[in-house]
Every structure is written in structure tokens, then in C-alpha cells.
Symmetry: C2
Subunit: 358 residues, 2 copies
């Protein structure tokens, strides 16, 4: 990478070939905290998307959100399944509890609508696989909403790693933690993440997936074996993992050691140590705080300050761009399915107390 | 902790009850890079110690070092075992390859001399256990040279953790890496760390022991099971571990995930994440760079700059203080032996591909 370019083009959308076309009109399925606080405001700033339909279990809530954001329609889940308002949207964005994703995607695929689905894409790998199949059967695009893939801090890190800036990658540390019970879902939404039927798991499924997936993305490689340890200490977490530690063995002798907690001080980092240098993202993963980068090589260490992007805006425009250019998103259904297979292997490892090969 | 005290007494020697007495006269056994670059200069700055005898395989080298540092005598290993110059020293400091430690400690114990022995205390737990026994038999003090125990950054961190500053500790990350072949032992000393007979192991034994032991020290707890993965990638490391990842399960559901490498970018950190806050030491473990601390709690994050101490000076004065006050060092032989049992369990885990209980 040219020295100038790192500064001048830090936040460039290197994935973007064209900025015309669209807008892709999106129906938002699930109107919880994240949709209202992050997804809708992020979508309203995009170049290529437009939110047009709000879909919720409650007609009143759907219509309220539609009115507040000047959308074309607010409908219920049932009306969505019945094919209401299909003229008003081109694609859906699914933000419901994990175990409900598949049902909406099946309907969307049958309606010929493309899909952006929140991660983890489902509560089990089996259901995720069915999602991949149904989208293929109906020839609709399926993207999983890994916002780190379009986060400039992560893309620049991936570029530097692949250009050899840190030499051969040797070890990765990754972590994400928050006080889930007080930080998110304040107010009107039950903590469905505490229900294993709805979530499929908690610390690992909901936030451990960030260091896991970002390590896969930055390395452009898949782990071959995993080891995991889960803990449920306090009553609200009695049915799910409250804390998790996991170890990913990647090819070429690269190990990633990761931790996540839904009941610890808010913190996140990803540290990539190679033979020649090191890149640390800290904070790394939260949409609700500025990301930071520290780069080290040859005795020089520097902190990078950069103009922060809205991660949701980037993600939605990337999805729309894929649709408008008829190209496949990198985080497609198979990519998301791989995460679920890895996550299930980590849970299995924690259950049997031994590493699990993939 | 009082707010003022954190600032005013950051580098205070909270272990020190008296500063008179002594000096404790020390014989240095093994005159390699570390002894000459760090131990002797550090010892010369102490309040309570005085280096008096240099001991080496080469008479000329021993006498050369003795002359350069104005010591009372320079003798060979053989002369040491024969009881030469015993009037000139009160205790020994052992800095030879790991597998040779026991022989010198046995002689010292028989001579009634107290012992400060570098870590890891031996190449195997069996030999370490014999060292503990021989020192007990002859009623001499045995301290293992864990310089992080008297590093103010670590002591203040331990205090904050035990006062509940971070709440309940949830997860720990630890890492230490260096380019061993170019960073240390430049010149006149063979890389004995590459010889498993002399070292007992490399990445884990030599530097992985830092996050391992510092986690034990800060938590004041012992792991109950371990999982490890070792890698030997390049020819110089064909007989020993070049990189290691390991996972320590402590009581109260605290996990530490750690990595170390003898062939990666120079880096070290220890990060303690609790329910209420986080403390990060970075750089953490190298004597040859300033340590740093970042403290987070309640939405406030601060970097602590403090007057750096010479870690060797602190360690030697602590050892001398224990002798002069007839008190037991915290990092005694049993403490060091525990590390070797943990290390052997990690190597066993890496060998069998499964976690090992302790």
C-alpha cells in the first residue's frame, strides 16, 4: 500500500464500482432496539437504499415506525407471509430473534425478494443450511449482516495483513464483552437472547461471533479445529452461555484465542501478531463507539485516528451495491453457515471437554 | 485505595519493612547476556545487595567480569562446587540454562547459602521438586526470580483487582512474543533455549511463563485445568515449541487465554476484564521497555504514566529483604514448582490434544 493512500483513502469503499442505480427498497423485519436505534438511522443515510416497509408482530408498532420514518407501509408478520405490500420493497432485512430468521427468509425467497439477514443467521446450522438452500432454489441473493466486513478499520487491516505488513501471522487475540442486561434491549423487548430456543446460545452466538468471524475474514481462512469453554454463572443466564473462551486453530499454524462475555465490562479488541509486526483494533466491534487501530512494525508504533463511518450505512450500501451490480456478497449464506458450524463445534467442545475437528 | 495514594505511592515498595542491614553478598552463577546486560547493572543499584563473586565455565571470563565490576572473586563452576570463595558471598543467583540450575542449588544448599534462582526454576518438575527438597533439608531460602512480583505496575494491578476495582474477574488475555534469534543472546552464547535437554521447552518455558505466572500472581489463584497447542515451524525450533497457545481454567469460572512466541514481533500484554472494569498492562513483561497501564471503569478510561523502576533492582532488594528479615519470599520454590507442573500439563495437553486437569 502507498503511504499516501493509507491516509487519503482510509474510508474509501474499495468494493464500490458504481454509485448510481437504486434505490433498493428494504422491508425491515423486526423492530426492536437495534432496528430503531441503529438500522433505520443508518439506512436513511445510505446512497443506494431506502427503507420502505416496517414489519412487526404488532400492527400498531409497525404503523407507528412507518409513520415516524415516513415509510410506505407498516404491516404484521402475518401480512408479510400473506404477501402484503410486495410492490413496496425489493429486499428484506431480518432483525428478529435468531430462531425466527428462517421463516421470514423462506417467505421472502418464495416472493422473489433478496435477503439481508442478521448474524448469526439462525439458531442452528441445520436451519442455516435450509436458509441457504431455499435462497438458492428461488435464486435470490442472501447476505449475512457482518458489518465488520465493510468497516474501513477492518478492511485496511485485512489489506495490510495480506500485503505482508505484519509478516506471517502467528497469533490472534480477540475479545468482546458487554453488560447485556443493562446495555441493550432496554425497555420494551424481552431478552430473547437468554432463551436458547430463540437464540441458540448467548455469549458465543451473539458477540463471540465478532472475533470469530473477523478473524476468519481478516485471515481469509477457516479454522480446522476448535476448543471451547462456556460458563453460566448467574441466574438470568442459567439456560445459555454467559461467558465463553475459545481457541481456533487455523491453517499454517495460526491460532486465535478468543473470549466473550454478556456479563462483563464493555470491551472489545482484535490483535494480530505476526513475525514482523502487529495490528490491534481496540475498540474493535461495537457499532456504538469509535473504532481504534494501533500498528507496530520495525520499532515504530502508531495510533491511527480516522473518520468513523456509520457501520450500518456501509453495510446496507454494500448489500444494495451487490444487488445493483448482480454480484455475490462476500458474507453470503455459506459464509454465515460456516460460522454456525464453528459455533456448534465450540459448544460441542465445551460440552465434551475436548477439542473438536471441523 | 485512596486516589492520592495511587499517584503518590505508585512505585512504593509495599513489601519493604526496613531498609537497613546487609548488604547481602551475591555470587552470580552464569555470565551470559542477561547477567551482564541486566542483572549486574540492576544489582549494583540495589540498597541491600552487593555482587561479590562471578562464576562461569571459563576462568578467564569469570575473572574478566569480576575485574570489570570490581567483585571480590571470579571462579569456575568447578571451583564453586569445591567450595571456593565461600567467605565472599551469602547467597547465589543462578542464571544458567534451566537444566543446570539444580546442580548449583544443591551445592549452595550444602554450603548453607541462600538461593535466588531464575525462572523456570528447572527443566522438569521432578528436578524442581528435588530443588525444593534440598533447600528445605539444608534450611536455606529458595526464591524464584519472578520479577513481575515486584514490578509496581503488576503490584498496583493486583491491589486494584483484589479491592474489587474491576468487579469479579471474568476473563484474562496474556501474550508475550519476541524474535528470540535476533533479540537476545547476541554473540557469545549458544541458543541453549533451542536444546530441549537444557531448556525443557522454549516459547512456553522461557516467555509463556510470564503471562502464566502473572495471571496466577494477580488472581492469587491456581488453574485447575489447562489446554495447550504448540507449534514448531522453522528449523531452529525443530526440537522445541516455537509458538504456543494455552488456556488456563481458574476457580470461580475465570479463564485466561494466553499465547507466546519466540519467533514473532516483540509484544506483550496482560488484560484483565471484570464485571465492572478492565486493566490492561501493555507493554507488560519485558525488562527492556517501559511498562504501560490502561484502566477502565464506569465509562472512564485512563492511561497511567509512572516512573519506571529497574525490575532487577527491585527483585534483588526483595530477595535480600526476605533474607534480612528472615521472611519467606512469595515466589518460593513451591510457587515455582507449580509453574513447572502447569507447564508440563500444557505440553501434555498439546501432545495428546485434550485438556489436562491439574
Amino acid at each position: 500500500m502507498e503511504f499516501d493512500d493509507y491516509f487519503d483513502e482510509f474510508t474509501r469503499r474499495d468494493w464500490q464500482e458504481r454509485s448510481d442505480g437504486g434505490p433498493v427498497r428494504l422491508a425491515l423485519i423486526g423492530l426492536g432496539w437495534f432496528t430503531r436505534a441503529w438500522a433505520l438511522p443508518g439506512m436513511e443515510k445510505t446512497d443506494l437504499c431506502e427503507p420502505t416497509v416496517a414489519i412487526s408482530g404488532s400492527k400498531a408498532k409497525a404503523e407507528g415506525v412507518a409513520e415516524e420514518h415516513e415509510l410506505e407501509a407498516g404491516i404484521t408478520y402475518e401480512e408479510f407471509h400473506d404477501g402484503n405490500a410486495t410492490d413496496a420493497y425489493d429486499a428484506i432485512y431480518v432483525v428478529t430473534p435468531n430462531a425466527l430468521h428462517l421463516d421470514y427468509v423462506e417467505t421472502a425467497a418464495e416472493l422473489g425478494k433478496d435477503v439481508l439477514c442478521e448474524k448469526p443467521m439462525e439458531a442452528t446450522a441445520d436451519r442455516a443450511e435450509r436458509m441457504v438452500e431455499v435462497c438458492a432454489e428461488h435464486d435470490v441473493t442472501l447476505m449475512i449482516a457482518y458489518r465488520m466486513h465493510t468497516e474501513p478499520a477492518v478492511r485496511r487491516t485485512k489489506e495490510l495483513v495480506h500485503e505482508g505488513f505484519v509478516g506471517d501471522v502467528v497469533r490472534i487475540h480477540g475479545h468482546m464483552s458487554q453488560l447485556m442486561l443493562s446495555e441493550i434491549d432496554t425497555g420494551d423487548v424481552d431478552q430473547w437472547r437468554l432463551d436458547p430456543e430463540l437464540s441458540g446460545g448467548c455469549a458465543l452466538m451473539d458477540i463471540g461471533i465478532y472475533p470469530l468471524n473477523t478473524a476468519r475474514f481478516v485471515l481469509d481462512a477457516e479454522p480446522t479445529s476448535v476448543y471451547g469453554n462456556t460458563v453460566s454463572e448467574h441466574e438470568p443466564f442459567s439456560q445459555v452461555d454467559e461467558h465463553v473462551s475459545f481457541h481456533l486453530s487455523f491453517p499454517d499454524n495460526v491460532d486465535a484465542v478468543c473470549t466473550a462475555s454478556q456479563n462483563a465490562h464493555h470491551s472489545s479488541h482484535l490483535r494480530i501478531t505476526g513475525t514482523d509486526g502487529q495490528i490491534t483494533l481496540d475498540p474493535a466491534f461495537f457499532e456504538r463507539e469509535a473504532r481504534g487501530i494501533t500498528i507496530e512494525r520495525g520499532g515504530v508504533e502508531t495510533d491511527i485516528d480516522f473518520e468513523q463511518v456509520d457501520q450500518l450505512t456501509e453495510e446496507f450500501d454494500y448489500f444494495a451495491h451487490c444487488l445493483l451490480t448482480d454480484s455475490d456478497p462476500l458474507p453470503d449464506g455459506r459464509h454465515g453457515l460456516t460460522d454456525l458450524r464453528i459455533i456448534e463445534a465450540i459448544y460441542e467442545s465445551a460440552e465434551v471437554g475436548a477439542p473438536v475437528d471441523l
